[in-house]
């Protein structure tokens, strides 16, 4: 039988606020355990929450970015369950009246097609703390660090609109691109800034009824997400084809061991007893406040991609790649403007620079080569001062902090020779010095002569110490050889 996969995502996005959702404690990552756990988020008796304005604004900005309805009266509720990383014994979240209503996100697939993925809603909530079970702890004990407790999150809940791991990853990447472009999240997946819960079910192809789904929780990389989906789809199909049924359950996928397992222990007697939180009033948002945020909303990746095509005449492919990353986009635009050569700027940003950053584990913001420096180098390629090959040397030197392009070109004596008189002289010397090669060229069949040019080029570049302008040399060489025929 043919099976169709149905996937829905719940995405937790940590908002890039300075302080927690209900207190003025810092949210910075990696602090010493429990030094950012204030009285409110430790749930000390008598403490009360006051809502962070920036968290509300960021949630609204996300809603505007996906063209969703903004709920002008949203309500926080308490979700009750006991867990040591949940200090109050309930999570303050939204259920019946979330701040962001229905919206939609368009994804681009590898074959060039587009698909709209529905967003059911997005709501504001607080993150939990972290538990550790290993390391220096008394025997049989776990440790609880509540620094992360109270970090503001939006949970984005998609419709079950995805049909493959590829679509799910494209959707996840698109959300990453959107939330980083509007700067409501730092996008640092390795620090847990975006975490994905994946709902997967399968059904016979052509069926419209949904199968029983499982939820795999807390995936924090695209790779793990892809693996987890593929394994889960396979597991469900095998199960059904062997006559079994899929149980609705929560699962955990371990990316290191590649093993997924059911979290049945946590599932027993789940009844979250949601009710409106009496310590918080309804969050009212005025039309004016929404319009103000709309006006200030940074450019979205789709708009940026279209602009790159029209403004810089980039290809769809190049513009798509650059526009999906807001930092890369900003870098590219500086290089393009300062160098007046967008195509070359795009090639260098996407190619050499991206590669080097990736290897070094750095972001565009942390790039050791500044956009201005790269632009300076692109200018020298454009005006034929240096060849592409030399440019790689220049780039390497800039990366090592040896200065800007012109300084390096001078210091290394890399200037390309484009003076036609000088080049003619070099070409003539090489031809004179290699009569056998010339003879061979003349005797070669016309259709195959082109292949023979490489040998001459090598000699010429060697004679010019690599500084000859290759395009010009090519022209002069052809002229001179043709004249001998």
């Amino acid at each position: 039988m043919n099976w169709e996969t149905v996937i829905g995502l719940e995405v937790h996005v940590q908002l890039a606020t300075k302080t927690k959702i209900f207190s003025a404690a810092s949210t910075s990552f990696g602090a010493t355990p429990n030094t950012q756990a204030c009285a409110i988020h430790l749930a000390m008796p008598g403490t009360l929450p006051v809502l962070n304005k920036q968290a509300v604004n960021y949630a609204i900005m996300f809603g505007l970015a996906i063209d969703a309805e903004i709920c002008q009266e949203s309500v926080f509720e308490r979700k009750n369950y006991f867990y040591p990383d949940l200090p109050k014994g309930y999570q303050t979240t939204q259920l019946e009246k979330p701040i962001v209503g229905r919206g939609s996100v368009t994804i681009q697939l590898a074959d060039g097609t587009e698909k709209a993925i529905g967003i059911h809603h997005a709501h504001l909530e607080e993150d939990a703390g972290k538990s550790t079970h290993e390391g220096d702890l008394p025997y049989g004990m776990s440790g609880v660090d509540l620094n992360r407790a109270g970090t503001p999150l939006i949970e984005i809940v998609s419709e079950p609109d995805m049909r493959s791991a590829e679509e799910a990853i494209a959707f996840a990447k698109k959300l990453h691109s959107i939330v980083t472009s509007i700067k409501i999240c730092d996008g640092e997946m390795s620090q847990g800034s975006m975490r994905f819960d994946v709902n997967v079910s399968v059904r016979p192809a052509g069926s419209s009824a949904l199968g029983t789904r499982t939820e795999t929780k807390n995936l924090n990389s695209y790779k793990f997400m892809e693996e987890a989906i593929e394994r889960e789809v396979e597991r469900q199909i095998d199960l059904i084809e062997d006559g079994g049924t899929v149980a609705q359950e929560t699962r955990l996928y371990n990316g290191d061991t590649k093993v997924a397992k059911s979290m049945r222990s946590k599932e027993e007697a789940n009844d979250y007893r949601y009710f409106p939180c009496p310590d918080l009033l309804p969050v009212l948002v005025s039309d004016e406040a929404i319009e103000e945020l709309r006006r200030a909303l940074p450019e979205l990746p789709d708009a940026r991609q279209k602009r790159f095509v029209s403004q810089y005449v980039l290809s769809d492919y190049d513009s798509e790649i650059i526009a999906s990353d807001s930092n890369m986009s900003a870098f590219f635009e500086t290089v393009a403007k300062d160098s007046s050569n967008a195509k070359l700027a795009a090639n260098w940003v996407m190619g050499e620079l991206s590669g080097a950053l990736n290897t070094a584990g750095l972001s565009f913001i942390e790039s050791p080569v500044t956009a201005q420096q790269l632009a300076g180098m692109v200018v020298r390629i454009s005006d034929n001062s240096i060849s592409g090959k030399m440019a790689k040397q220049v780039f390497e030197a800039m990366w090592q902090g040896e200065g800007n392009a012109d300084e390096i070109i001078q210091a290394k004596g890399l200037k390309q020779v484009s003076d036609s008189g000088a080049l003619e002289k070099i070409v003539a010397e090489v031809l004179d010095g290699n009569p056998a090669m010339v003879e061979d060229f003349i005797n070669t069949d016309e259709s195959k002569r082109k292949k023979k040019l490489g040998g001459f080029m090598g000699q010429i570049m060697k004679a010019s110490k690599g500084q000859a302008n290759p395009q010009q040399v090519n022209q002069i060489l052809l002229q001179k050889l043709n004249a001998l025929l």
Binding site: G46, V50, G89, R273, P278
Partner: protein, 484 residues
């Protein structure tokens, strides 16, 4: 000195008739002599009180004394006090010493009041008799075989026994007014949002409100001046200016329209109590007030609505007591669930556990709409009753409780009988309205309270009429023989 009102103590301190250190020592002595009889105070902060008193004396000498400078008071043990155990009457918090102050505590410190200690209370404020405290029951100074009322029974009994001239208290369903009535003192529950809830351990967040207890309405006004404030740390605190509640105490009550709800004088009301309350109303009428018959038709639904909403909120509010961050943790837990269950079962008393179970039930899947959803709708009906009434009257009056103080164990086996003790007080909490109780008579040598219900933020008018009542009556000056 212990028979002086706060107003008189402030004058005496300012006129240097006595120092705050003398005054404080006097009350500390009374606590050490008399508290064993009543169990009203569970923590005494003598050293801290005497050094605060010395500081107050300096400020009085320098002439920069704030409103309550040097006046000793007690705080209900539900308010967090920096460095001083805050137990909420529970074994769960028997070892809990908060590193922060409640806003109410800060406000009194700002105004120079001297904290003598913390008062006993029903565990987590759940009770109407003060029998549920981990520290044992409080005894009513008027009759030590009877309850003082609850949950602020320790504060009420302490004032009745002249262990302090004033005390803080909280009211979720009557916990200020009912013990004030049963102990023959004055107590005011302000409008919800008037006094900050920051640092006050939550029972039912949408109903809890702190207020003053003292012997007279004037003293309550002085204390409310200090307690009431807008607090950014409490999202439900209302940003509205605080009037000087003492300024209007002398106003005439001529022409004042007082609504008398027929539902507050129905069966179940003790005849002696009814006589006392009707006499008080007649006294006010004689002063020129107009009595108007009104109806609050949904009154009978307030107790059922309350016993859904309060336990539901409490069930979540008390989840933080899990043995992880502070408070009681059981010995040698065998695993995580065992730690949770035993810490909570050993740390909470029976009534608290019962209310957590009821609240959990009312919120659980399949019952939410029938209970919690319905109760919130009923709450709106009750609110509507009051807003209709306030279209034609200025204040509403009736009995505070159905009968005077009952004997220990009298309502022991039936939680519902105990819950009906708050039948006249609960509706104001559901509606968020201010309510007050002042002594208005004696039945079988036990005090009876007159309840005054005002419109939102109309505390000044309530205090005014209560003060005027106390100008023509002497109930508030009576004291149990043993403590005179």
């Amino acid at each position: 000195m212990h028979n002086y009102t706060i107003a008189k103590l402030i004058k005496g301190l300012q006129n240097k008739e006595f120092s705050s250190v003398e005054l404080t020592q006097h009350f500390l002595d009374r606590i050490s002599q008399l508290n064993d009889d009543y169990n009203a105070v569970i923590t005494v902060t003598s050293e801290q009180a005497l050094s605060a008193a010395a500081l107050a004396d300096q400020r009085l000498a320098n002439g920069d004394a704030p409103a309550m400078c040097g006046v000793p008071i007690l705080h209900k043990d539900i308010f967090c006090t920096n460095g001083v155990r805050t137990s909420c009457g529970s074994k769960m918090l028997d070892n809990f010493v908060p590193p922060y102050d409640a806003t109410v505590v800060e406000n009194f410190a700002r105004d120079g009041a001297v904290m003598l200690g913390k008062t006993n209370m029903d565990e987590f404020a759940m009770g109407s008799s003060n029998e549920t405290s981990f520290y044992g029951p409080v005894k009513n100074p008027w009759a030590t075989d009877s309850v003082p009322g609850g949950s602020s029974g320790g504060s009420a009994a302490a004032i009745a026994a002249r262990l302090a001239p004033g005390a803080t208290a909280t009211d979720t369903g009557g916990s200020i007014r009912q013990p004030a009535a049963l102990c023959g003192i004055s107590g005011l529950k302000p409008t919800y949002g008037r006094v900050s809830r920051w640092g006050m351990i939550a029972f039912a967040s949408s109903l809890d409100q702190a207020g003053p207890m003292a012997r007279t309405a004037e003293d309550c006004a002085i204390m409310l001046n200090c307690m009431a404030s807008f607090d950014e740390k409490d999202s439900t605190s209302v940003n509205q200016s605080v009037p000087d509640y003492t300024a209007s105490l002398g106003n005439s009550i001529k022409g004042l329209k007082i609504g008398i709800p027929k539902e507050y004088f129905s069966e179940g009301l003790d005849p002696g109590t009814e006589i006392a309350v009707r006499k008080a109303l007649a006294d006010l009428e004689a002063q020129g007030a107009q009595l108007v018959k009104i109806s609050l038709p949904n009154s009978h639904l307030s107790v059922p609505a309350y016993y859904v909403i309060a336990p539901a909120e409490a069930s979540a509010n008390l989840s933080r007591f899990d043995g992880v961050k502070y408070g009681y943790r059981c010995e040698n837990p065998k695993d995580l669930q065992d730690m949770y269950c035993r810490s909570r079962t050993e740390g909470f008393g029976e009534e608290v556990q019962r209310r957590i179970l009821i609240g959990t039930y009312c919120l659980s899947a399949g019952y939410y709409d029938a209970y919690y959803g319905k109760a919130q709708q009923v709450r709106q009906l009750i609110q509507q009753d009051f807003s209709d009434a306030f279209k034609s009257v200025d204040l509403i009056m009736g009995p505070t409780c159905p009968s005077p103080a009952f004997k220990f164990g009298a309502k022991g086996d039936d939680p519902v009988a105990m819950y009906l003790e708050d039948i006249y007080t609960i509706a104001t909490n559901l509606a968020g309205l201010p309510g007050m109780s002042v002594p208005c008579g004696m039945v079988e040598e036990k005090p009876v309270g007159l309840q005054i219900i005002g419109n939102y933020f109309d505390e000044a008018r309530m205090l005014n009429v209560a003060h005027q009542f106390q100008q023509i009556t002497n109930w508030h000056n009576q004291a149990p023989e043993a403590v005179q």
